[in-house]
């Protein structure tokens, strides 16, 4: 049984908007929303020269490893991480126990400002995620197109 997370247009627009506002209000270089399994969900800001796929996978791995450390120390979870670089700093936080919010920022912003803005964005994101998960589990929204996939469709993927 494969669990599925389904993203619909409406929720993605809301998540994108939260990312854009966070990017603007925190003076960040870029904002990413990643699911805990390493899939990139949304992004805002200067992401053109970022390898978002790799960043997402590594960040999720990092968060998973930190979660493992928390368990060993009988902590429920470390809610956030901060990495300080020479040019770029990274603020990582877990939102709604489901997704990871990543803010990349430089000297134009500060950790305090980022933390403040992340807190607001997190609570908004949590509400959107709750709706998204409910829709995913009930299968509401639209009928699955995947029930119509044929063996030929699958075989065709591998023909080349």
């Amino acid at each position: 049984m494969i669990q599925q997370l389904v993203m619909y247009e409406e929720e993605l627009q809301q998540i994108n908007r939260i990312c854009e506002i966070l990017h603007r209000d925190s003076n960040a270089k870029a904002v990413l929303v990643i699911d805990k399994n390493g899939q990139a969900i949304a992004q805002a800001g200067d992401t053109a020269q970022l390898d978002v796929t790799s960043l997402s996978s590594l960040t999720a791995g990092n968060v998973a490893a930190t979660g493992g450390i928390a368990q060993l120390l009988a902590e429920r979870e470390f809610a956030g991480q901060f990495h300080e670089g020479e040019k770029t700093n990274v603020h990582i936080s877990i939102v709604g126990a489901r997704v990871i919010l990543v803010v990349l920022f430089d000297e134009r912003s500060s950790l305090g400002l980022v933390r403040l803005r992340v807190r607001k964005a997190s609570s908004e994101l949590t509400s959107v995620l709750d709706v998204m998960v409910k829709k995913s589990s009930s299968g509401a929204g639209q009928p699955s197109v995947f029930s119509e996939i044929t063996d030929d469709d699958i075989d065709n993927l591998f023909n080349d």
Partner: protein, 195 residues
């Protein structure tokens, strides 16, 4: 956990290569990486020790093309095979959609094979998965070595449930894509059933 994005029309699935240390999990991914068109793959990431043993995981994002207007993306992961990295293996299995078990055909690795397979089953159980219900294939690697055990014996010991299985020589690519295709098909078939 497969991630379906109706907005960008993408299906994302996670496949994990599991098996004992030095069985060739990373070699499988390296071969796939080397033989895939640049536009269909992302960067391959290996978190390895200085002696090139996998420390946390290898990661390779692949695009397989479109199905009913949806781009299919597969994220391939390997686990570290060495016994003492068990905590890392558990983390990597989270959200898995399909599993490839890579066995080492050499006689002297049979015990390690069995231990790794038991470890896979119990680690999946801990995450709430049942190996018998997941898309799952087996690959017998290192078939070219002189001390390779007969296939019938490997099948009997490592594949009692008779899932699709493949003989492989991963550095030469023999069996590598057959294995990947088989597990990807099973994952998509599962998706069709509605997860």
């Amino acid at each position: 956990m497969s991630f379906i994005n109706y907005s960008s029309r993408e299906i994302n699935c996670k496949i994990v290569y599991y098996g004992p240390g030095l069985c060739g999990k990373t070699t499988n991914l390296q071969y796939i990486y080397n033989k895939t068109n640049p536009e269909a793959k992302g960067k391959m990431i290996s978190l390895a020790t200085e002696t090139e043993r996998t420390l946390f995981f290898d990661f390779l994002p692949l695009s397989l093309g479109e199905i009913r207007g949806f781009k299919t993306r597969f994220h391939l992961y390997t686990v570290p095979g060495q016994v003492f990295y068990d905590a890392s293996r558990k983390l990597i299995l989270k959200g898995v959609d399909g599993v490839v078990y890579v066995g080492d055909s050499q006689m002297e690795r049979m015990e390690a094979n069995i231990e790794s397979l038991d470890n896979l089953r119990s680690n999946l159980q801990e995450q709430g998965y049942d190996l018998d219900k997941l898309p799952y294939v087996v690959q017998y690697n290192k078939r070219d070595l002189p001390n390779a055990i007969q296939m019938s014996e490997l099948e009997e010991t490592l594949n009692p449930t008779k899932v699709p299985s493949f003989e492989a020589v991963a550095p030469k690519g023999i069996g590598v894509f057959d294995t990947l295709k088989a597990v990807a098909k099973l994952v998509l078939t599962e998706l069709r059933k509605g997860g």
